[in-house]
């Protein structure tokens, strides 16, 4: 690197300085609520009755995090959420892949009207189905069960739509070749379509998992047994029940957030694709 170009680089960095300052300030504002939660989760409980609040944990109480894992049932809540979100994710991907395959590779009567029927489910707002769905689960005696938490969400029009868009973009010749080789539909789907659609499937999976993990109203309604609480219901109810251990509850809140944060950062690419699937199809 010549002296001149190094000088230019330095100059350019200097020019960026105000921009970086703006970026940093914006990032600080966005992160502030979470930062304060982390600070509070490391405070002794007595600090919660003092004013002004601390902006730095001067004597961090790391044991709050241990307490969150032992004295409040965070592991149990996380396990419930994990099971629920995994089942919903797998279910959504499987049902959507099957339906999307039919809509993109198979011929059958009423294909277009059926596809519109699928899409029409997106127009039915969740509010209207809450009460009847709750009654259905109640009648099936599925309160406090994983099937009650998951089954209503195992099929999505969004997922079908997303995968169909991708399947349609695969070359038709693949199907012809498969037909000649005597592949059945299921075999073709599993051994050709799925491997070629990993990214689209991952997109749907990340999306489904995130949504399922963050559900609130439905788990609130269908779980009575505290052992069946999901992590969201868990922290929301602990927050009011365990006022004398607010710091531990906040530690639990951070623990509940971490897996999702990791997921979002690791799979951001897929998430963006999922979120924008609707926006950019002009």
């Amino acid at each position: 690197m010549t002296r001149q170009s190094a000088g230019r680089a330095a100059l350019r960095l200097l020019g960026w300085l105000p921009l970086y300052a703006l970026l940093a300030a914006s990032a600080a504002v966005v992160m502030f609520p979470l930062y304060m939660t982390v600070v509070d989760s490391l405070q002794p409980i007595a600090k919660f009755l003092t004013f002004p609040p601390d902006f730095w944990p001067h004597t961090p109480v790391w044991s709050n995090y241990r307490a969150a894992m032992t004295s409040i049932p965070m592991p149990r809540y996380m396990a419930n959420s994990l099971i629920m979100a995994t089942v919903i994710t797998v279910g959504e991907v499987v049902t959507a892949a099957l339906a999307a395959y039919a809509f993109s590779f198979m011929r059958f009567p009423f294909r277009t009207p059926l596809f519109f029927l699928f899409l029409s489910t997106m127009m039915v707002p969740w509010e209207i189905s809450i009460i009847p769905n709750f009654q259905t689960i109640q009648r099936l005696n599925w309160l406090d069960t994983y099937q009650g938490l998951t089954v209503p969400f195992l099929a999505t029009a969004f997922g079908t739509f997303l995968l169909r868009q991708h399947f349609m973009s695969l070359p038709r010749e693949l199907k012809d070749a498969a037909d000649i080789d005597g592949y059945g539909d299921l075999r073709f789907l599993l051994s050709v379509v799925v491997p070629l659609s990993r990214a689209a499937l991952a997109t749907l999976a990340v999306f489904a998992f995130l949504q399922a993990w963050n559900q609130y109203l439905w788990p609130l309604l269908v779980t009575n047994d505290p052992n069946m609480r999901t992590v969201q219901i868990g922290i929301a109810s602990l927050q009011s029940e365990e006022v004398q251990r607010t710091n531990v509850v906040l530690a639990g809140t951070i623990l509940a957030l971490l897996p999702m944060l990791a997921l979002v950062i690791a799979f951001q690419r897929f998430l963006v694709r999922g979120l924008t699937a609707g926006a950019l199809k002009g």
């Binding site: 921009l19 609520p33 707002p125 209207i128 089954v151 099929a155 079908t160 539909d185 995130l210 929301a236």
Partner: protein
């Protein structure tokens, strides 16, 4: 799966072929169709039916009451109030979240060393749930020991008992929701920015357009489908909001935060008036349907698709 059905043998009448095709497609479609039938279409019909019936709080003694409950809902000032609150809530959440998302996306849509870190931070709140975000903000908003009042007090701004003031409760709940939705808005708008062809900017520059005019004539039109998407989804989110209300205000004070879903929840699961709650849900469904159709109609007029 029978392999010969789709192997292209040309046998049988069109009718037989239709049957064969249906049989082949059924296993692929039935899982979704059955689930939709049970958990989407049946509830729709069932809700309408429930709206015509009254029961005791335990779901028994069902009697046909005709349109009485629908009439109650349509004439009740409480329901209109809840609709209004939901509308206000949508306004208070969608506009700021979209604007902030746009700002953060524009800010981080540059080639700079380390910009990925900022993009990640700006989109991080997409990982937060209503429960997490409400618990986080509940502490910030505490009138006596919360950070918000401390910071405002330092800045000489009058402090407030945010969640118990009829004036401030809804904006306060909206603020927690805006924070939660910023990440989503930023991600989508960033992707939208990447989709605007570079040539458009180049030709604008050739025409001697300044930054502002470039933004007005290239970026905004290019982003219009994205911004529409963000705001439509935001409106849907707003009308479905429940968790933050339940955790932060329980619909109070003076019903200032009694959004429509909370009102349905309260009627059904705290007052045990399933019929009345169902009637509310049905009326809401019709309104949302009309609004959606209207939105698409408007969108067709002004959104610029490439």
């Amino acid at each position: 799966m029978s392999e010969e059905t789709m192997a292209g043998r040309r046998v049988g009448s069109p009718r037989a072929r239709a049957i064969r095709q249906t049989v082949a497609a059924a296993p692929f479609l039935l899982p979704s169709l059955v689930l939709f039938a049970v958990f989407v279409f049946y509830p729709l019909v069932r809700s309408i039916w429930l709206g015509f019936h009254a029961t005791d709080p335990f779901g028994r003694n069902e009697v046909w009451v005709g349109t009485a409950q629908y009439h109650d809902v349509l004439t009740s000032s409480d329901f209109r109030h809840s609709l209004l609150v939901s509308g206000q809530f949508a306004l208070y959440t969608v506009i700021p979240a979209t604007a902030i998302g746009l700002y953060l996306a524009l800010l981080s849509h540059r080639r700079l060393p380390g910009i990925v870190i900022f993009r990640t931070i700006f989109s991080s709140t997409v990982a937060t749930s209503v429960a997490v975000s409400s618990v986080v903000w509940l502490l910030m908003l505490n009138p006596s020991v919360g950070v918000l009042n401390y910071v405002l007090g330092k800045g000489g701004v009058p402090t407030e008992s945010w969640l118990t003031s009829p004036t401030w409760a809804l904006p306060a709940v909206a603020m927690t929701t805006v924070w939660m939705n910023i990440g989503f808005a930023t991600i989508v708008i960033l992707a939208g920015l990447q989709n605007i062809p570079e040539e458009l900017y180049e030709s604008a520059r050739v025409d001697g357009a300044g930054r502002w005019s470039e933004f007005l004539h290239v970026t905004l039109p290019g982003l219009s489908p994205t911004l529409l998407f963000v705001s439509v989804v935001g409106v849907i989110f707003a009308f479905e909001s429940f968790g933050q209300i339940q955790i932060l205000t329980q619909g109070g004070p003076l019903d200032a935060t009694n959004v429509i879903v909370y009102s349905i929840y309260r009627e059904a699961f705290l007052h045990y008036n399933i019929g009345l709650a169902s009637a509310q849900a049905v009326v809401l469904f019709v309104i949302v349907l009309l609004l959606t159709l209207l939105q698409f109609g408007v969108a067709r007029r002004w959104v610029f698709y490439q």
